[in-house]
């Protein structure tokens, strides 16, 4: 979406191919959020599986509505360098069915819904750092506030044609700064406020289901093609196709790099390492994939795989409890991918800006990337920490300690993920307690 508006001799006309392609891409990006829910859900302990799934899923409900009501207007309306505004788009009123997104061949509605999916998954990404310990009501409110105060302005900076980062020439093809650094830095800000899980560094907190993690990573990988290849908003000049190829190449390279790092450092190629390496590669190629060549994408993947594998151990070193490594994978991966544009951009993809290794070997693009990366990082970290602090002082962000220890699923959702009762199942084969429970349910039903 970072393409400059080109002045064609003829005004663009609605392309049914591009429109269809973008609607499919939007659905693919939506699929990433349940995929993320499984990726995270498998990594927590049995007793907080449902809460982890729900923290992602609730974002679909909340952000969809606020995006329709005011989000799209504030993010992509023309306003200032820092926030947009378009009164006609509030509640998506006054948008014509065939009205085109300026400079492109797809309707405004299609662009709006594609961007909605990005706005949905970004707060969901943060939840991985907060596993096991945050009140669901406080989380739901945080999602709404964070999307409004942090995501929407940052998306405007980076992708709107009058955003300051866009105008400066910061390249972020599909969300390295707006999505991944943004979510990773927010995660860091929030956990510095709310603190560690009970038993962090003392109790074992092994993933309860690595098959779920792999399922989630697979869904993310699949959906990410929509996320990345769709970000050219159509595919008339091949840049979207380059992005598709680079997405695949960098992800494969990052997975292998993470596994190699693990084998050398810890002696085994783990399932969690393969899934995490793939996600690290997807994150890193997200900002850079439209600017680098496939060989550059391999370099981006390898560097991101090793950097993220090394970074996930930092939480034990520094003592902050980033439960599922949102900082280590999304923030670090996003920074790596965004900064490597300054080295590997060929000048032949999404823009003619070339990195240090191409063109006239100038550091120009690298400095621009640094500005984008560190501005988003600092704003997101600070604003998210303030939001978490305010919520903590009012609603309270954390569940009581006894509820955290006995399992957040039961206390927050009145459910548990798995039924481990008895060997026979049912009232006949079950225990007296089960029979009594069943009797109670009947009473409620009657």
């Amino acid at each position: 979406m970072a393409a400059a508006i080109t002045l064609a001799a003829e005004a663009p006309r609605l392309s049914s191919a591009n429109t269809g392609f973008m609607l499919i891409c939007s659905a693919l990006v939506l699929l990433m959020t349940p995929g993320l829910a499984f990726f995270y859900g498998g990594m927590v302990r049995v007793k907080s599986t449902l809460n982890m799934l729900m923290m992602s899923f609730i974002s679909i409900g909340i952000v969809t509505l606020l995006w329709v009501l005011y989000g799209f207007s504030l993010a992509f309306g023309s306003g200032s360098a820092f926030i947009g505004w378009n009164a006609d788009w509030l509640g998506l009123s006054h948008i014509g069915l065939t009205e085109l997104w300026p400079g492109y061949t797809i309707p405004v509605f299609v662009f709006m819904v594609f961007q909605m999916m990005f706005a949905i998954i970004t707060p969901a990404l943060i939840s991985g750092a907060l596993a096991d310990r945050v009140k669901f009501s406080a989380w739901a409110l945080f999602v709404a506030l964070w999307a409004t105060v942090v995501y929407i302005p940052v998306a405007h900076w980076v992708w709107a044609s009058d955003g300051w980062a866009f105008k400066l020439g910061v390249i972020d093809f599909a969300g390295g700064t707006a999505v991944h650094i943004n979510a990773g830095a927010a995660a860091l800000g929030v956990i510095l406020v709310i603190g560690k899980r009970v038993g962090f560094k003392k109790d074992p907190m092994r993933p309860h289901s690595l098959p779920l993690v792999m399922l989630g990573a697979g869904l993310l990988w699949f959906g990410w093609f929509g996320f990345n290849a769709g970000s050219w908003l159509g595919n008339d000049d091949g840049v979207g196709a380059l992005m598709f190829v680079n997405t695949q190449v960098a992800t494969a390279a990052a997975m292998l790099a993470w596994l190699a790092y693990e084998k050398i450092r810890h002696g085994a190629c783990t399932t969690l390492g393969a899934a995490s390496g793939a996600v690290a590669g997807l994150v890193a190629i997200t900002p850079s994939g439209g600017a680098v060549s496939p060989l550059g994408a391999i370099a981006v993947g390898v560097i991101a795989g090793v950097a993220c594998a090394a970074a996930v151990g930092l939480k034990f070193k520094f003592g902050y409890d980033d439960s599922l490594d949102v900082v280590g994978v999304h923030m670090v991966g996003g920074i790596v991918g965004s900064l490597l544009i300054g080295f590997f951009a060929t000048g032949k993809g999404q823009s003619d800006a070339a990195g240090v290794f191409y063109g006239d070997h100038s550091f120009d693009q690298l400095w621009k990337q640094c500005a984008g990366v560190f501005a988003v990082l600092a704003y997101s970290l600070l604003a998210s920490a303030v939001l978490a602090f305010l919520l903590d002082k009012t609603l309270g962000m954390r569940v009581p300690e006894d509820e955290e220890v006995s399992g957040i699923d039961q206390s927050q959702h009145a459910e548990t993920a798995y039924d481990f009762s008895g060997t026979g199942g049912g009232v006949v084969g079950g225990s007296t307690a089960q029979a009594l429970a069943a009797a109670k349910i009947k009473k409620v039903d009657a």
Binding site: P204, R206, E262, R265, A268, T270, L272, A309, G313
Partner: protein, 112 residues
């Protein structure tokens, strides 16, 4: 009578069952169990964080035998369970006061 209990590696179950059948044992009880001996479990790695898993999966086999067969039966189980590697398990026996076959009410050695 004696109760012979063996806590051994799960993958030796078939060999032990066959050996016991060849010896003439008509029935046994098998339970899934977990535990550790001198080897103290194993290590697992998740994103570089190492976890020591103390309890490893085992199976517990219980057989009732007449006094004169007990020692020989223990030898049969030990031979079938042995891999020579650490964690092969343990076998022990206890005196049993009585045993009853539920279906017929037979008692003592007749119930075996």
């Amino acid at each position: 009578m004696r109760l012979i209990t063996a806590v051994v590696k799960p993958h030796r179950l078939d060999e032990i069952k066959e050996a016991l059948q060849a010896f003439g044992v008509h029935g046994l009880t098998v339970t899934e169990a977990s535990g550790y001996g001198r080897q103290r479990g194993h290590t697992e790695v998740y994103r570089g964080a190492e976890y020591t898993v103390d309890l490893v999966p085992k199976i517990r086999i219980e057989v009732l035998a007449e006094d004169e067969d007990a020692e020989q039966l223990i030898d049969v189980i030990v031979k079938a369970a042995r891999t020579g590697k650490i964690g092969d398990g343990k076998v022990w026996s206890l005196p049993v006061e009585t045993a009853v076959r539920v279906r017929t009410g037979e008692r003592g050695p007749d119930a075996l």
